[in-house]
């Protein structure tokens, strides 16, 4: 009798726990619905009366794509939210390719891209009836780095880089690269094949032949691991985004690259004026034109172009020339 009662108490406890959970979830759902309705209502008001749009913007602008562009978009979203607190700007990092896939399925409003859209991606968008506007937002410079202790490298040519990293390369020691270098084995570090940085290096330096994959080279998706690797080995060499070199300039030595017109060191100036070739690249955002009709998306795109020049340096990228921003801004008027 007593035991039965106890059992009942336990069961009751269990049930009440469930009820509490259910209630919590129920509330969630309800408040979410009202919030969504509220959001939709304000949207309508804003469309009907554009004069009020600056005062009350809301809604959601979904963004996804390149992890290289992410810091820029994150910065833009953060600053944008200071002015328009009710607009939600979630940003994901599915990679440039993953971003375009969602973009052409109309799942997101804006795609971050570290390269221009490919033909097949453009076709996919077209087939889905999606028109878009391409906006250049900043430059990224790939920096080739060696250890601070390396005292023999003053520059490398594109051919030499090609010789070192090319798939099937027989280069083992620095002497194999240039006769004046010591006969010490080269220790190589590279971002993994899934990263846009790998793609870009592969394209700009190796003509898409692929990076060697043998015991002389280590791959890592974590740029900080690459920094550790290069700074820790006297005969090491590696490459990654300019931002990572900037942050670790005290541990690394950047290698000026000769692309045919003399060695150029990557700096904000050489990346900006395009002389640091071929290792500087433009970064883009792609905006769905239909989404661009929503006042909050338009406002965000404008805000992005107007402010990204100032924000780029802060997150380790290089701003475009001012007249270029004017051109980009004109695309979304």
């Amino acid at each position: 009798m007593f035991k039965g009662k106890k059992g009942k108490v336990v069961l009751m406890l269990m049930m009440s726990m469930l009820v509490v959970f259910a209630a919590a979830c129920g509330n969630n759902a309800n408040s979410g619905n009202t919030e969504n309705n509220g959001g939709a209502a304000t949207n309508n008001v804003a469309t009907n009366a554009p004069t009020e749009e600056a005062a009350k913007l809301s809604g959601e602008i979904k963004i996804d794509g390149s992890s290289t562009v992410f810091p820029l978009t994150e910065a833009a979203a953060e600053e944008f939210n200071k002015e328009h607190a009710d607009v939600r700007v979630p940003v994901g990092v599915s990679g440039t390719g993953g971003g375009f896939k969602q973009f052409c399925a109309a799942e997101i409003a804006i795609a971050d891209a570290s390269r221009p859209i490919k033909d097949e991606e453009a076709t996919a968008c077209k087939d889905a009836g999606i028109e878009y506007t391409e906006l250049s937002v900043a430059f990224d410079g790939l920096s080739v780095v060696v250890s601070k202790d390396n005292d023999f490298i003053d520059h490398l040519t594109v051919e030499e880089l090609n010789k070192i990293f090319m798939t099937g390369s027989t280069v083992k020691t620095w002497k194999d690269v240039r006769d004046t270098f010591p006969a010490e084995p080269i220790v190589m570090f590279s971002p993994g094949a899934d990263s846009g940085t790998y793609d870009y290096f592969n394209e700009a330096i190796l003509d898409k032949a692929g990076i060697r994959n043998d015991e002389a080279i280590s791959f890592s998706e974590d740029d900080n691991a690459l920094v550790q690797g290069v700074s820790g080995s006297k005969y090491g060499i590696g490459y990654f985004g300019f931002a990572y070199f900037e942050e670790n300039a005290d541990k690394l030595k950047v290698v000026p690259i000769d692309g045919g017109s003399g060695p150029i060191e990557p700096t904000y100036d050489t990346i900006k004026d395009g002389s640091y070739a071929p290792l500087s690249r433009p970064l883009f955002i792609y905006v769905n034109n239909k989404e661009l009709e929503r006042p909050e998306v338009k406002e965000f795109a404008k805000f992005y172009i107007d402010n990204i020049g100032a924000l780029a340096g802060e997150v380790g990228y290089v701003a475009l020339p001012d007249e270029q921003y004017a051109t980009e801004a004109a695309k979304i008027q």
Partner: protein
Amino acid sequence: MNIFHDANRKQIAGRRRTDWLLHILFVTATSIGVIALCALLIDILLDGVTRLQPDLFTNFPSRKADGSGMKSALVGTIYMLLIMAPVSFIFGVGAAIYLEEYAGKNRFTRIIQLNISTLAGVPSIVYGILGLALFVRLLALDKSLIAGALTMTLLVLPIIIVSAQEAIRSVPKSRRDASFALGATKWQTVSRSVMPSAIPGILTGVILAMSRAIGETAPLVMIGALTYVAYLPEGLKDSFTVVPIQVYNWLSKPQVEFQELAASGIIVLLALLLLMNFSAILLRNKYQKNV
């Protein structure tokens, strides 16, 4: 006689030595795990303790390390738990009761049983792919809180079912027999006789499964939990982020301040895990006394 005695002694000494060597071996085996964990904890604590400030809990993520927080991630994790716990409890325990008490001991049951045990060992990313296809695309739930929570429910269900089954199985058969002898129906027996004894074990299993779920990243990355979220999810269909994803995001940034933030994020996650495991133990002890 004497010689025999000596040989015997030698043999004993040899055995003692083997025993001693194995003792050392097992102690080493144990301490490797413990030392690795301690090293990890100390390293993370040293890195992250300076960033363990109110800002971490009250601020949204920011591109600047100072004042960057993980409010949205923490709230996302807690909301996910609140949805996941009741759903996985109902389905998990329901399945366990069926398999242990109602299902006949036939081939069909054995196949289900085999399936569940196999599912418990499937890599979590596979659940992510399933969640993406089923909840995000097919049911058009988008990259929402509910899609994430349901995917995680699928992930923990096999674990909950197996542990709940074990808890139910450990209830002595005599209790059921006594109940049936008094003319009770199956449900009366299960609800009044079996469950009260089994509930501590079941709850422990559920809580441990939950603590596995809050540390998972892969399936949520797959279904598109987002990296930068500067708002709190307010409805089931809102997009969201969770603590492990926020930590991963911080780890991938170049600035050393973000590495510290990541460490403090890990501390918070570990504290949450410890709290849950601790409450699992408390619950078990409390109910064990009562039954």
